[in-house]
Structure formats: C-alpha cells, structure tokens
C-alpha cells in the first residue's frame, strides 16, 4: 500500500510543480464555459428579417411597424410567396421570416383567433430561439394594446417553425458538451503524456524492474488526474449554475456518479494511447486526433447527430462522449432520473470495461 501511496504522491508532485500545465488544466474549463456562456447570452441586434404579408391590413401593418421599429430586427425585404422566403433563407440574407395569413385582421376581429407564422434559420439554434422569442414578445405587446382598448379577448397565436433543427437542440447544450470535452482532454491526454514521459526519461525501466505491479502503476498514475477532473466538474457546474443560470434540474449525485464513470472511460483511453505512443508528442497528437475531434464532432454538442449522414451516425456510437453527453443533458437539463438513462450508462460501463481491460492487459511488463 505504501508503494502505491508514494507513487500517487509522486504523480501529484509532477502535476503540482508543473505550474503552467496545472494553470491550464484548472482554467481551461472555466474559460470555455465562460466563452460559450457569453456567446449564448449575447444579445442579437439588427437581425435581418423578411415579411410575407398576405393580408396587408391595419393590424398586419401595425405589427410590421412594431417589429421593424424594434432594435432587434431590421426588415430588409417584403416577400410575396413561400418560395421566395425559402430562397431568401438559402441565400443567407435573413434569419427570420414573419408570415401573416390572408385575412389576418378579419380573423382577429371576427373569430378572435389569428395566426402569425415565424420561420427561423435554426442552424444556429440559440439565435433562432432568441429571435422567435423577441418577435413573439412584440406580437404579444400589440395584442395587449388592442385588448386594452376593445375589452375583447382577441388572441393572436404565433406559430413557430424551426428550419433545419426542428427540436432546437443546442440550447444549454454547451455545458454538458464542455464537460465531456474537458474530461476527455484532462484524463486521456494528460495520463497518456505522463506515462510516455516516464518511458522517455528512462524511469519506466526502473519502475518495471521494481516489484510494483503494473496494474498498480496504472491506477496510481490515474488517481491525481481523477482528482483534477473532479475539480473541473465542480468548477463547471458551479459556473453554469451561478453565473450562467443553467440549472441542474436532476439529481446532483447521479450527475457526479456518471461523470466519474466517464472520467474512468477517458483514463482508460489515455492508458491505451500511452501503450503505443513512444514520445510525448505522439501521445499528445494521438489524443487530440482520436479524442478531441471526435468528441467535438460526434458528441452532438456542436452538430446535431440526427442531421449527419448515416455512416457518421453509426460512427458516433463508438464515441464515449456521445453517451456521456446524452446522459448529462438528460440529468441536468431535462431532469430525468436513472431509469431514463440506464441504457446509455450501461453502454458507457461496457466501453470502460473493454478499454480498461485491453489497456491493462497490454501494459507491458517488459520493453518492446
């Protein structure tokens, strides 16, 4: 046990004394969260919009005026058909289109029920969401103003249609995304680098010759990074709750348990990389190429997996971060319990067991 503890202590000293890396390890998640958070809460101003007014009556003109007067929108085009709307979207000229149906005012006055359609470019879901919210707010304002005068319960119903990303996935999604990314990087890359470094400086030979069991060497190497990752999870969660107002709807305990599971998955990937890499650069490069990019691309955090070609969708299944991302989103944002995510958890456990056993089995008790 002593052997094991001193190894952990030694690893910890390596991390602690390399202040520059430690600084990056601790601040990287904070900066990422703040960056994404800032980008998300950033107000959209003067978004270009088009209006398709099929009734051209008093009410639609009033609403159009309200909308174009707002600082959020900049009316650049009046279109005359749905086809036109689509064309304008495709050209990338506008981000939102407002469609008034034929006889809008009539509907409003006589049936007390009128509809407005808002069509948004949801390739950037956050912006799309914001724009429709603004537009809806303006329409509601107008509605209130006429209701006050007439004392009649007119209601205008906005019908929102999200183009390209109908479920508007992506809102708040950056928090679980950054968690997946940071854990992968810290655990896999740092562990693999630290093992390969010992090979480079020749200490691995001496350690192998020592009575210390390979299994313990691996575990001892990973523990300090496990701790750093826990710290990262804590800082990410604190920031998202208190600074970005992204709530943790579900159970915190479950969230942490799943994160530890994913950390172990990442650590096993790191050990696996270190088994084959001969230099620190190779380890770093392999980690970046095989972990960072797939996590970024296939976890669903930046790009919706549903919209990818089928082969890529299949590939995304072997990326552990995808499952972790689903799990965290379910717990954190949807507030679901374990019953909803047991399948994903099981997949992650399976991956971890396979990776860990391969990497420990392959961890050589001899050189080459």
């Amino acid at each position: 046990m002593n052997q094991f503890l001193i190894f952990v202590k030694k690893e910890w000293l390596h991390i602690w004394r390399d202040r520059r890396t430690l600084f990056i390890l601790i601040w990287m998640p904070v900066v990422q969260i703040l960056l994404y958070g800032f980008a998300l809460t950033n107000e959209v101003k003067n978004a270009k919009i088009a209006i398709f007014d099929q009734s051209k009556d008093e009410a639609t003109t009033a609403i159009t005026n309200e909308i174009s007067a707002s600082r959020y929108f900049n009316l650049i085009k009046n279109v005359h058909s749905y086809k036109d709307i689509e064309a304008t979207f495709r050209e990338g000229k506008i981000r939102l289109a407002v469609v008034f149906p034929l006889g809008f005012r009539n509907d409003l006055l006589h049936t007390n029920h009128a509809q407005i359609q808002l069509i948004a470019d949801a390739t950037d879901p956050n912006t799309a969401n914001m724009l429709t919210n603004y537009a809806t707010a303006i329409i509601n304002n107008y509605q209130q103003s006429i209701t006050q005068n007439e004392k009649l319960p007119y209601t205008i119903k906005t019908q929102v249609r999200m183009l390209y990303n109908p479920e508007l996935k992506g809102a708040y999604s950056f928090v679980p995304g950054v968690m997946a990314l940071v854990l992968m990087l810290v655990c896999a890359m740092m562990t693999s680098i630290s093992i390969v470094r010992e090979k480079e400086i020749g200490t691995m030979e001496v350690i192998l010759v020592s009575p210390l069991k390979p299994f313990r060497i691996i575990i001892a190497k990973t523990i300090p990074y496990l701790l750093v990752s826990m710290l990262n999870i804590a800082s990410i969660l604190l920031l998202s709750v208190f600074v970005l107002d992204v709530p943790i709807v579900g159970s915190l305990g479950l969230l942490i348990a799943e994160s530890i599971l994913f950390t172990v998955t990442s650590l096993s990937v790191g050990i696996l990389i270190s088994n084959t890499a001969k230099t620190q650069q190779t380890a770093q490069f392999t980690s970046l190429m095989s972990l960072f990019l797939p996590t970024l691309l296939f976890s669903g955090f930046l790009f919706p997996i549903e919209n990818m070609p089928i082969p890529l969708q299949v590939i995304s299944n072997i990326v552990p971060a995808k499952w972790y991302y689903i799990i965290i989103k379910s717990i954190m944002i949807k507030g679901l319990g374990f019953t909803a995510i047991w399948k994903e958890t099981l997949i992650l456990v399976g991956m971890t067991v396979i990776l860990l056993s391969i990497s420990i089995k392959n961890f050589k008790i001899r050189l080459s």
């Binding site: 002593n2 030694k10 004394r17 020749g202 200490t203 030979e205 001496v206 010759v209 009575p211 080459s368």
Partner: protein, 306 residues
C-alpha cells in the same frame, strides 16, 4: 558462486525489413562480488544485454540467470533483487533529491533508514543538496543520486548501463571509487562503458563489438594476449609522420594515440631501425621511438581487425 550466467543469448530486431543482430550467441559468467565490465562502442549490443538480464526484454534464444533465477520464468524474484541504472536514466527532474530517493526506496518496499548504511557514503556527498530538484544537479551529482536510487533496496546484483557517459573526469573517478567500495560489501556489479580506459578498473571485462564478444579476461590478461611488439613514435609533425609510416608496406597498423602513434610491424626484425629510417627520410625532428606495453584500446583494435 556464480551471480550471472549468460548462455548463448541471441537477440535480433527488425528495423524496416532488415534484421539487425544485436546479440550473437553471447555467453559469459560473473562471479559473486565481481566487478565485470562490458566494454564496447555504441551499438555493440550493451543495452540489449542489460535489458535482457534485468528481465525487461526477452531474448530470441539462449538462457540467462541471475543468482540462480531464470530471467524469463523467475522474473519477479529477479526484479526484487537487482538494482538497475539504465543508460539514459535521468531521474525525476521535478522532484528533489530526497523525494527521488524516497520514491525509489518505497516502490522497492523499503525505506531510506533501513538501508542507509549501504548508500551512506554516496548519499552524504549529495545530502547538502537534498531539497534541490534533481534537474538542477550537475552531471556528477545526478549520477550519484541515480546510483543511490539503484542501491537503496540493497540489491545483490547491480546493473549499471553506461553510468559514466557524459560525466567529467573527476566525477568519473569518484564514481569508480564508489563501485569499489560497493564491491567490498559483496555486491556483484555488471557495468558497461564505451570508454576503454575504464576497463582497467574492472576485475574482468568482456570486449564487445557488433553483438559479439571479442574477448573475456582480466584487464591484464587481455593486454597480455596482444601478440606482437608495439612501438610508440613521436615527432614534430605527427600527421605527416603517420602518413609516412602507413606508406611502408611492412607496417601492419599505425594508429594515433594522443601525442604518439602506436605502430605494429608485420615482421619483427630491426623494427626500431626501420622507424628511424622513415624519420630520417622524411626529415622529421624531435623523433622518439620506444617499445611499449599495449593498453586495452590497442587490444580492442587488434581484436576488431581479426
């Protein structure tokens, strides 16, 4: 009792489709408490041999045992009882002297206190710097620390792979003095070096070149085996002198040795006169010639040519 037994060890590597023979049927034995030197240039196979004996590498064929334990079957026992200082061993640069030593003591299931006697001599020299990071030590001190780390678990056999490469002459001398004190404690030491002058500090040496042992003997025995008389010459213009000597068809070899050239003739009659003749013809001044005892390097070169 024999500490190290090596029998017909063969090791090959595949480098880009060509097979490189690192060790070609190497055999030797080392007695308990002996300092045995493996002497040869880089690429001779020294490191492969050390790794096989410390159970880090598997030989293609042949047997080897340390204290009676087989390097393949009983690798765990061997790992418990040998000390190893690899060639490019550089310790943990970011840990202090004491932290390094403590680490290696603990992973070998012991403590600094327990075996302090063994390393005392050496450790005392670096103790004043015990809080300093290993990365900030001089070459000689690093080497002492590395030796302490290899010794701290009281090994019965010590493997030192090129411990003196890149270390200055003073530190090298001190290092060899330390090895001789360790020998007195009954520790068997297998040490490799590319520097021929260190051979005389070993009890016995194996000269190794391109994976083959050229000769195994005591340093004296090796120089005794040098068959022909060796002449040392010197003059005012050494480079021109060498060319002049090499032009003579009766000369077997002529190698520069510091301020002298060492010359061997094919036949041994009137060699001194022949050399003086060369000097006279070439108008050399300050010419000196004398018969000398060969050193290990002379022998190594002669064996290389055989």
């Amino acid at each position: 009792m024999q500490s190290i037994v090596v029998e017909n060890i063969v090791k090959t590597y595949c480098v880009k489709k060509t097979v490189v023979e690192a060790l070609k049927e190497i055999s030797f034995t080392v007695e308990k408490g002996e300092i045995f030197g493996i002497i040869g240039p880089d690429g001779a196979g020294k490191t492969s041999l050390f790794r096989i004996l410390t159970t880090l590498l598997l030989a293609d064929s042949g047997n080897a045992s340390i204290d009676g334990f087989d390097v393949i079957k009983d690798y765990k026992q061997i790992r418990n009882r040998v000390g190893y200082m690899p060639g490019k061993f550089s310790l943990y640069q970011d840990l202090s002297v004491q932290e390094n030593l403590e680490f290696f003591a603990t992973i070998f299931n012991t403590s600094i206190e327990e075996n302090y006697d063994l390393v005392k001599d050496i450790y005392q020299q670096i103790e004043p710097f015990k809080t300093r990071k290993a990365g900030q030590l001089s070459g000689g001190m690093k080497q002492k620390l590395a030796l302490c780390c290899a010794l701290i678990h009281k090994p019965s056999v010590l493997f030192l792979d090129e411990p003196t490469t890149g270390v200055d002459a003073v530190s090298r001398k001190e290092f060899w003095e330390m090895l001789h004190r360790l020998k007195l404690q009954g520790i068997t030491i297998l040490v490799s070096t590319p520097y021929m002058d260190e051979a005389s500090l070993c009890d016995r040496v194996a000269l190794i070149q391109k994976g083959e042992i050229l000769s195994i003997n005591t340093p004296k025995g090796i120089t005794k085996d040098f068959k022909k008389p060796l002449w040392s010459v010197k003059a005012n213009e050494m480079f021109r002198l060498m060319n002049a000597i090499k032009e003579n068809t009766e000369v077997e070899s002529c190698y520069p040795f510091g301020q002298y050239h060492h010359v061997v003739f094919i036949s041994q009659e009137n060699v001194k006169e022949k050399l003086e003749e060369i000097a006279r013809k070439g108008n050399f001044t300050d010419f000196e010639v004398q018969l000398i005892e060969p050193n290990i390097e002379d022998c190594f070169m002669a064996l290389m040519k055989e």
